[in-house]
Symmetry: C2
Subunit: 418 residues, 2 copies
């Protein structure tokens, strides 16, 4: 079958399944998720064997060790993936939720009810655990999902998807609610993002190149996350002990992720006191520092921050440091060079804390806490399907609720419009 | 200046203004809206003179009388537009609203705060009143707006926009928060929908062709409303007296709008009793009926509904009628031919009312009430900026809240991530 036929066939089947999906009770969905968990674990030999094939191909193609790392599954990792399914089972089902109703002067009773989006197209790279995460979150939120994973993981993904589909069918749920594009043909992505009659939302997860490509070419709405250039601003009224510990955590606890700090902004009144010790701590942890002119006047033996550094998402043990004249200067910097992702202030001033919260236009704005808390679990949403840095539909970590929308429901007794 | 330069210049200025806009208190915004209302009325001579120019050009180009009708302003209409501004002033400002906060196990206090989207691009046809509506709603919700109106209304729109900008400036609000693309060059739309660095959301309002064109070519997210193929299903347990009155209202009270009924579905068990009288009533009101085979067996002297009729948004005194075998058959019909806009059931069965509400995937689903209630005012949202028939970001009538999003705000006391 041509890739064109494959993508269309899967899309139409996913759309046909969505009517069944949206009427499922939470109990039925949870039962199916339990069976999926059981079967993935029971048939781990099949999954690991197919993963072995992927690893062999990847090795023979000379792919980097970091790609091999992300691709590799073992019993331990599979166990973690299966545990993750329990977490989703324990989350409340958003579908059917009506948070309030109101009565109109003519007696109509009006409310908003949460409903699934319909069909989600999920485009991602490498990690086979995303296959399970995406399928499980979409099932729980009553959506159909079409998965297009990275070509390196095609055998692992197909094995996982087959097991999920079998379990769904055994529980009386249409197996086409979860499907995987079974080809490594890159054309499949182009075709998928044109199927606006069938797919309601595209979620790309991977490098910035993939996400930009999908965003610019899709006819279907895209929930996107470009990059995280996260800042901490150490205010003149900061508790410096707290600032050392929060800044260290934000930079080094896991430098390769989107919510790690990339730029440190320091108020000039505390710079001379704060920076020598802070930079000393960073250097001890192997962090390369690139400072502005004023920073370099205070601390010697550090690198130079060029204009381009302020835009940079290092994802590594590198930090740019800037001394600012005022809080407004810090806010201006964040607005100009930031990515609307995650930004924090360290201060003991009530007025400044509130002004920072109000003025900074990022998906998560924190006072006296590490940027690393921008995460669905950490903020209390449960499992997340991604982080949105654009403001339409969702802004920040996206959990189950962001895979739904609301419709208006209206109860009358014969009302007509005048 | 080239159209390219004009669009870029306006877009950059709108983006620069958004920082100021998002920090405005409701009181300041309401004061500015009051002044806008006052000035539009005070300078009605200028507006009507410029509108006269547009009408003259339109007449000389031989535009249809319906376009001339939509284009024409007079004192009465302007008065209505100014009254509408009071309505928006009286609506609560969504910006800054935090509906609840929760505490995490580590002591972090987390909440979601409503914030403006940023810059809205508003593309519309003909009616100059939309210029005021869009500007006023965007100001109240703390957004900047770029208006691209229809070429027929260019002089009216420029006069209105100039008055609004002057009033903003007088109240200390950047005038670039509201701007109009001052050209009839069609290239302006193409340029505008590429400015994804500056504009956060595009809202097109007009014919289906314009909306499809914008949706398919925009790099920026689009809130769209294709068409309203609205149904009423008269169930076997319907109160037929109620059904006559609700169906009549849904079809004839204002047939040219998107929430008017286009197809009537009738359960076979009541068809013989219901249809002759109902169709008689419609015929008395000048409605042309196109029936399915079964309908034509019950009532003679009516037209034939072809397959294509079920997809049709007549926007006119035409109605297609179908006898269905069951409620599931009705739901299937709505799912297959409908547009996810507005659908209603007339029934006295508790179980069927709830099943219809659950199964029908439309932005507004009603029991025992006219489809004509799909409207921001009627549902209690206040003024609306449009109706969305796609599920991303908003589904159904869009009020002030749909011109905003939420960010996470986090209050800590030194928390770091483990």
């Amino acid at each position: 079958m041509s890739v064109d036929r494959i993508v269309k066939d899967i899309s139409f089947k996913a759309r046909a399944a969505k009517r069944h999906m949206r009427s499922l009770n939470e109990q039925i969905k949870n039962d199916a998720l339990l069976l999926i968990r059981e079967r993935l674990w029971k048939r781990r030999d099949v999954i690991l064997r197919e993963n072995g094939k992927d690893l062999e191909v990847a090795r023979s193609q000379g792919l980097s060790s970091s790609i091999l790392d992300r691709l590799r599954l073992d019993e331990e990792i599979l166990k973690g993936i299966c545990e993750g399914i329990y977490d989703v089972i324990s989350l409340p089902d958003p579908v059917g939720k009506v948070t309030g109703m109101w009565k109109r002067p003519n007696g109509l009773l009006v409310g908003r009810m949460r409903i699934p989006l319909g069909v989600i197209g999920f485009i991602y790279e490498s990690r086979p655990n995303v296959t399970v995460d995406a399928a499980v979150l979409c099932i729980k939120s009553g959506n159909s999902v079409i998965l297009k994973g990275g070509s390196e993981a095609i055998n692992s993904n197909m094995a996982i998807c087959d097991i999920i589909r079998e379990a769904l069918e055994e529980r009386g749920i249409p197996k086409d609610a979860v499907s995987l594009i079974p080809t490594i043909d890159r054309k499949a992505v182009d075709l998928l993002i044109q199927m606006d009659d069938c797919i309601d939302l595209i979620i790309p997860r991977g490098g910035e190149g993939l996400i930009r490509y999908v965003t610019e070419n899709s006819k279907i709405p895209v929930l996107k996350h470009f990059k995280g250039v996260c800042h901490i601003y150490v205010d003149r009224y900061a508790d410096l002990q707290m600032a050392y510990s929060v800044c260290l955590n934000a930079k080094v606890q896991r430098p390769g992720v989107c919510n790690a700090m990339e730029t440190l902004l320091v108020h000039r009144d505390v710079a001379e006191k704060f920076l020598p010790e802070m930079i000393g701590i960073f250097k001890d942890k192997g962090v390369e520092i690139r400072g502005c002119e004023k920073t370099r006047k205070i601390v010697s033996n550090i690198g130079v921050a060029e204009e381009s550094d302020w835009y940079e998402e290092y994802l590594n043990l590198i930090l740019s440091v800037k001394v600012v004249e005022s809080m407004d200067d810090a806010i201006w910097h964040i607005e100009t060079y930031g990515s609307n992702h995650t930004d924090a202030i360290i201060t003991d001033s009530y007025e400044r804390a509130h002004r920072f919260i109000e003025m900074v236009d990022s998906s998560v704005v924190l006072v006296n806490a590490s940027t690393r808390f921008n995460d669905g679990y950490q903020l209390g949403l449960g499992a997340e399907i991604g982080i949105s840095t654009s403001k339409i539909h969702a802004f920040g970590p996206m959990g189950l609720e962001e895979l739904t929308t609301t419709k208006f429901i209206v109860f009358g007794n014969g009302q007509t419009r005048r």
